[in-house]
């Protein structure tokens, strides 16, 4: 497979107002070949930002640079930027192969023919038999679907077609707008792995928009958190969850207990997650380098050894207690065989905080189910 050779993207003081969203004076640099994730809640203006980069909205101010070229005024068809929407963006009147061949067919035809429905269709048929199309279908593992129509595909298959259609043109930049959000968990996991693989194999520059922090951590080399049209924080996923720059980022990221680990086979459907030598059980099929997270409200605290129905039970010292409304967040440092203790945060109600008499320095037991561990 030919590589894609992505180029760098630079936004300079970009200001856009479209579809009820406003983005003001945004600056961003994405390196060539980087996998960059734009993270933000619904309504943050993520889609509008991507569409502006693709040339579908005209910015009110600022510039867009692609590989050192100012493309602010270029129409979308001249930018060679691939775009994949969340769903429903395959051409329903074309087969899978014709969808993928759409851009190639346009490139081969004289202008006057491209602007008519009849010759356009014939050229697409011809282009759909070209080797690039077959290679791209094979790369996305959808060669067997070539002659199907989009109405007969699953959500995951459609997204693979949309990716193939964009990648076959060897885009200078690939924009993904919530590409996994409409999928069920099983397909989402598979396609996420696929995106990681494609990025590694092709060397494309990717800007991926999502509202899902797990997705950002799993895919992004760097992450920007977008809120109300501006960046709250830009950095590596680690930096964002370890040192959130604002209260919004901290709350949006939500999951407090996120650790890097090595996943090894365990008993049956479980895996052993090794984090700095500490071993936790989780229900996942993933192996190798992963992250895992446990919600604070899924962690149980006790002054005495916990009953054994919980797969994960550790002993540690209370490091901090932070009261917030009806809940208190208790940070427990669990000693790890290799390196620094792991800080687990557990949420407890105010009355149980009283009962447990938790104060910094006290020894406690904490436990959580294997099924409460999110692996990504």
């Amino acid at each position: 497979m030919q590589s894609v050779d992505g180029e760098s993207l630079r936004l300079e003081g970009l200001t856009v107002a479209a579809g009820g969203f406003r983005i003001a004076n945004l600056n961003l640099e994405v390196a060539a070949g980087e996998y960059f994730v734009l993270l933000g809640p619904t309504g943050a203006g993520k889609t509008v930002l991507l569409e502006t980069v693709a040339g579908l909205h005209r910015p009110l101010g600022g510039r867009v640079w692609l590989g050192g070229e100012d493309i602010t005024a270029a129409p979308p068809e001249a930018r060679r930027i691939g775009f994949v929407y969340q769903r429903q963006a395959l051409f329903p009147h074309m087969t899978v192969a014709e969808n993928v061949a759409f851009g190639l067919a346009l490139r081969q035809q004289p202008r006057w023919k491209r602007a008519l429905p009849g010759p356009g269709r014939r050229a697409r048929r011809r282009a759909s038999r070209r080797p690039e199309v077959a290679a791209m279908l094979a790369l996305l593992r959808i060669a067997h679907l070539a002659d199907r129509f989009p109405a007969h595909l699953s959500g995951g298959e459609r997204q693979r077609v949309a990716l193939a259609r964009a990648l076959v043109l060897r885009p200078r930049l690939l924009l993904l707008d919530e590409p996994l959000s409409a999928l069920d968990p099983q397909h989402r996991e598979a396609l996420r792995a696929e995106l990681r693989r494609l990025h590694a194999e092709l060397g494309a520059t990717v800007v991926h928009v999502t509202h899902d922090f797990e997705e950002a951590v799993a895919l992004g080399e760097r992450v920007a958190v977008l809120h109300r049209g501006r960046f709250e924080q830009v950095g590596t996923p680690e930096a964002i969850f370890r040192r959130p720059a604002s209260r919004f980022v901290a709350e949006f990221v939500g999951m407090r207990n996120i650790f890097a680990a090595e996943a090894e086979p365990g008993n049956g459907r479980t895996a052993r997650l090794r984090a700095r030598g500490l071993i936790a059980a989780a229900v996942t099929a993933r192996r190798g380098a992963v992250h895992f997270a446990v919600r604070p409200e899924d962690i149980v605290l006790a002054r005495h050894p916990l009953d054994s129905s919980l797969r994960n039970v550790f002993q540690g010292q209370v490091a901090a207690v932070e009261q917030r409304g009806a809940l208190a967040y208790v940070t427990v440092a669990v000693p790890a065989p290799e390196g620094e203790p792991l800080p687990f945060v557990a949420a407890v109600t105010a009355p149980s905080l009283e009962n447990l008499r938790l104060r910094p320095g006290e020894t406690v037991w904490l436990g959580f189910k294997a099924s409460a561990v999110h692996v990504f």
């Binding site: 569409e51 930018r79 051409f91 009147h93």
Partner: protein, 260 residues
């Protein structure tokens, strides 16, 4: 519960059946009143045949004009937001609610012999009063809303994101329209064409004001009824109903067939 629902449906169906019979009965009566031999003789009358062909041709010409100008208008109404859009949509619909003889008078005010546009076209040798172009614009005026509205709804049903993706794949706006938008909306456009053409065929009020002559079929029927009575007008009416029904069924079938 199922029982009461069933009774309810039967009651409503009975009410609806009366209405369907109200349409079908007179049409059937008229058709059956003229035996095939009479219809054939009527068709062989030069005056009748000319009127029917003129009606079909003029309506087709009006529909063609509406396609040329109405498709762009429909697309703009479906996609663009601009101040006064509601007003434009209302203007398109107005001819449907204006009495058609009044619409004819209104057209006469602009395309008449003494009117500005009438004079301008006369320089190019095009007359509207008592001439075929007058029939065409009368049909166009009263029936273009059917095509524009159907096409607009068709374009609106095409997801904007499909057009956006086509642009990122290298298609210009013009190419996007012909390769993505139009192929996905053409069924709505076709149904608009059928409705507009059929509506144009049946136009009497506006046509009769602009051009009593040359006579279209509805005017011919009216004239024979006024001058000679029911027995003389009926075969022409039967023939026109028969042909319209036939063409209508064929067009519906073409649209249906292409759906698969």
């Amino acid at each position: 519960m199922m029982r009461s629902r069933r009774r309810f449906l039967i009651f409503f169906a009975a009410a609806g059946a009366l209405l369907v019979a109200f349409i079908a009965w007179p049409l059937l009566r008229t058709l059956l009143a003229s035996p095939p031999a009479v219809l054939w003789r009527t068709w062989q009358e030069g005056e009748v045949r000319a009127a029917i062909l003129l009606t079909f041709g003029a309506s087709a010409a009006a529909t063609g004009l509406a396609l040329l100008f109405g498709i762009p208008l429909a697309y703009v109404l479906a996609r663009a937001d601009f101040p006064g859009k509601t007003l434009v949509e209302a203007v398109v619909d107005i001819p449907v609610v204006v009495p058609h003889s009044a619409a004819g008078i209104a057209l006469l005010m602009v395309f008449g012999r003494q009117a500005f546009l009438g004079k301008a076209f006369a320089l190019a040798g095009i007359r509207f009063v008592s001439a075929v172009p007058g029939i065409v614009i009368a049909m166009l005026f009263v029936s273009l809303a059917f095509l524009v509205n159907a096409a607009r709804d068709g374009f609106r049903a095409v997801d904007v994101r499909l057009e956006a993706v086509a642009r990122t794949l290298g298609a210009s706006p013009w190419e996007t329209f012909w390769q993505v938008t139009f192929p996905l909306a053409w069924r709505s456009v076709l149904s608009g064409v059928i409705m507009m053409w059929a509506r144009g065929l049946s136009e009497f009020g506006a046509v009769v004001i602009l051009a009593y002559h040359p006579m279209v079929a509805p005017v011919l029927i009216f004239e024979r009824f006024e001058s000679y009575g029911l027995a003389y007008a009926r075969p022409v009416a039967s023939l026109v109903i028969l042909i319209s029904l036939g063409v209508f069924l064929i067009l519906r079938w073409v649209g249906r067939d292409a759906k698969r």
